[in-house]
Amino acid sequence: MTPRALKSKKHSISYAKWGYRFIAPFFLVFAVFQLIPLLSTIYYSFFEFYRSGLKEIGPNFVGLENYRQLFATDLPKYMGNTVLLWIIGFVPQIVISLLLAAWFTDMRIRMRAQGFFKTVIYLPNLIMASAFAMLFFALFSDNGPINSLMLTFGWISQPIRYLSNVWTVRSMVGLMNFLMWFGNTTILLMAAVMGVDTGLYEAAEIDGCNSHQMFWKITMPLIRPILIYVIITSMIGGLQMFDVPQILTNGKGSPDRVATTIIMYLNNHMFSKNYGMAGAVSVVLFVISAVLCLVVFSVLTREDDGLTRAQRKELKKKGGKA
C-alpha cells in the first residue's frame, strides 16, 4: 500500500475498491466483446484476407489498398443510398413530430385522446423490423392486398410493380422508417417542449406574440439540445439501416442495388468471408460514427447553463485572462 492510501485510511474507510469492483464486469465484457473485436477489425482492414473456396488467402499486408478499392468501386454508391433512404424517412418524421409535439403541448387548444394517440404512434417502433419488412413485401407484391385494393377501388387499371421500381422501393423503405420512428421522436420532443418554462409563454402572450412566433422564438431555441440529440441519433440509426432494405429486397438491394445500404454491403463481405474488405467498411463506418458520437456526447454532458464542456473551458480561459 502506498503511504498516501495509508494516510487516507486513517481518516475514513475508503470505498474506492468497491467502485472498481462494481464497474469491473461492464468494462471486462466491453473490452473482450467490443474493444478487442474493434481493434482486430481495424487491424485486418489493412490486409488482403479472404476466403476463396476452401482456401484462405492471406493475411497479406496491403496498406490502404482495401480502402482505395472501396472508394473506387461500390462504397460511394451505397453511402449515397444510405443517406438518401435516411433523408426520405427522416424529413417527414421530424416535421410531423415537431408539429405533433407543438400541438400536444398547446395550452390554448387542448387536444383529446392524447394517451390513445401516443400509444398508437409508438407501437410500430417496437415491431420487429425484419417482420415489418416481410409484411410490406407481402402487402406490396404484384398480386398483394394493396394492388388488389387499388384495383377494386378503380384507382389503377394495372397492378403497380412496387418492388421493381426504383422510387417505389425507396419510398417503401422511407415509409417504414418514418412509421417506426415518428412516434418515438414525437414523445421525446414533447417531453422537451413540456420542460420549457411556461412563464415564458405567458410573458410572450402579454407582449402580444402569436403562437407562430412563440414556437419559432421560444420553443425552438429552447429545445435545440434535444433536437440536435434527436437528429444525430437518428443519423447514427440511419447509418445502421439494415433489416428493412435487407428483408424487403432479399439482400439484393434491387432494382439495380439502389436499396443496398452500407451495412448490407458489410454483411455481404462478412458472408463471403472477405475479412479485409469487411474490416475496411467497418472502419469507414467507425470514423463516421465516432464524429456523430462526439456530438451526442457534448449534448448529453451539457450542464444546466446550456454550455458544452468546450464552451465552458473557453469561458474559464477568458475569465482567467480578464
Binding site: 464497474i23 461492464f26 467490443q34 398508437v120 409508438y122 420487429m128 388488389s148 445502421q240
Partner: protein, 287 residues
C-alpha cells in the same frame, strides 16, 4: 381557464382543432392499417388471399397456425424458444450489470471514475456493427460461434441502459439511505442487491422491457453468429422465409409467421403501454 381560452379562440381554433384531428386520424390509420391487413390475412387460406383482399376475417386461422408450426423447414417453435432465451437473458444481464456499473460510478469515489464515465458516454451511441467482423472471428476462436450465449453475453456492457440507470439514481437514490445501511452493518454488495435494486425497480422494469424488445427484434448479429437450424431465432427464420421461392409459398403461412413474430411484443406493449410511453419520455435515450 379552459373555457376562457376556448371562448377567446372561438371559431378559428375550432377549424384548427378539426385539422389537427384529421392529421391524427390519418397517422393512426397509417400505423394500424398494415397490421389490420396482417391479422385479416392470417385468417385466410392461400387461395382466398390470392383471389383478392377481403376486409372480413376468414376461418383459416387455425389451419395457418398448424401449417406454420408443422413446417419442418421453418422451426418456429424452437425459434420462439431461442428468441425467448436470448431476449430474456439479454434483458436480465443488461439491466443488472448496468445498474451495478451505474451504482459503482454514482456511489463511490475513485481515481478513474470520471474517465470511466466519459468512456461509456463516448461509446454510448457507437453502432455494434463496427466491431461485428472482429466479434465473429473472436467467438469463432473461443468456441462460442453458433451458440446462444454469444448473443446475450455481450449485453452485460450496455451503455445506454447504464446512462438511464445513472440518471435515475441521481434523482431517486439519496446517498443517506446507503450510508444508513452501512451504519447498520450491511456489506456493499448486500446494500446494492437488497436496498438499491428495490428502490430503482421502476427503471429496471422499463429498461428490461426495452432490452427484451431490442434483442427479440435483432437480426444482423444473430444471422452472422448462428448456423444450426435448431438455434435460429425468429428474425433469422423471417429472413429465411423471404429468401425461399416465394411463388410456391403458402401466403396464409407467411402472414401467420409474421404475426407470430410480432405478437408477443404487441401483447406486452398493449398491457404496459402507459408505462412504456412514459419510459420513453423519461429516458430520453433509446437507440
Amino acid at each position: 381557464m379552459k373555457t376562457h381560452h376556448n371562448a377567446r379562440g372561438g371559431k378559428a381554433s375550432g377549424v384548427r382543432l378539426f385539422f389537427r384531428y384529421i392529421l391524427m386520424a390519418i397517422l393512426c390509420f397509417l400505423c394500424l392499417f398494415f397490421f389490420y391487413i396482417l391479422i385479416i390475412n392470417a385468417t385466410h387460406s392461400h387461395f382466398e388471399i390470392q383471389r383478392g383482399f377481403s376486409f372480413l376475417p376468414g376461418s383459416s386461422f387455425l389451419m395457418n397456425l398448424n401449417n406454420v408450426l408443422n413446417d419442418a423447414n421453418i422451426p418456429v417453435l424452437s425459434g420462439i424458444r431461442n428468441s425467448l432465451i436470448v431476449s430474456g437473458m439479454s434483458a436480465l444481464l443488461s439491466v443488472y450489470f448496468s445498474a451495478l456499473t451505474a451504482y459503482g460510478i454514482y456511489a463511490y469515489n475513485f481515481k478513474f471514475k470520471k474517465a470511466a464515465f466519459t468512456i461509456i458516454m463516448l461509446i454510448m451511441m457507437m453502432p455494434t456493427q463496427v466491431s461485428a467482423m472482429g466479434f465473429v472471428r473472436l467467438i469463432t476462436a473461443i468456441g462460442l460461434k453458433d451458440t446462444l450465449v454469444a448473443l446475450f453475453l455481450p449485453s452485460i456492457a450496455a451503455p445506454i441502459v447504464f446512462f438511464f440507470m445513472k440518471q435515475y439514481m441521481e434523482s431517486n437514490l439519496p446517498m443517506e439511505i446507503v450510508e444508513a445501511a452501512r451504519i447498520d452493518g450491511c456489506g456493499e454488495f448486500y446494500t446494492f442487491n437488497r436496498i438499491v435494486l428495490p428502490i430503482i425497480k421502476p427503471a429496471l422494469a422499463v429498461q428490461a422491457i426495452f432490452g427484451f424488445v431490442t434483442a427479440w427484434n435483432n437480426y444482423f448479429l444473430p444471422a452472422l453468429v448462428i448456423d444450426s437450424a435448431n438455434k435460429k431465432t425468429i428474425p433469422i427464420l423471417i429472413a429465411q422465409l423471404r429468401s425461399a421461392d416465394f411463388l410456391k409459398f403458402d401466403m396464409g403461412k407467411v402472414y401467420m409467421m409474421v404475426l407470430l413474430a410480432i405478437l408477443p411484443v404487441v401483447i406486452v406493449y398493449l398491457l404496459l403501454s402507459k408505462f412504456i410511453v412514459r419510459g420513453v419520455a423519461l429516458g430520453g435515450v433509446k437507440q
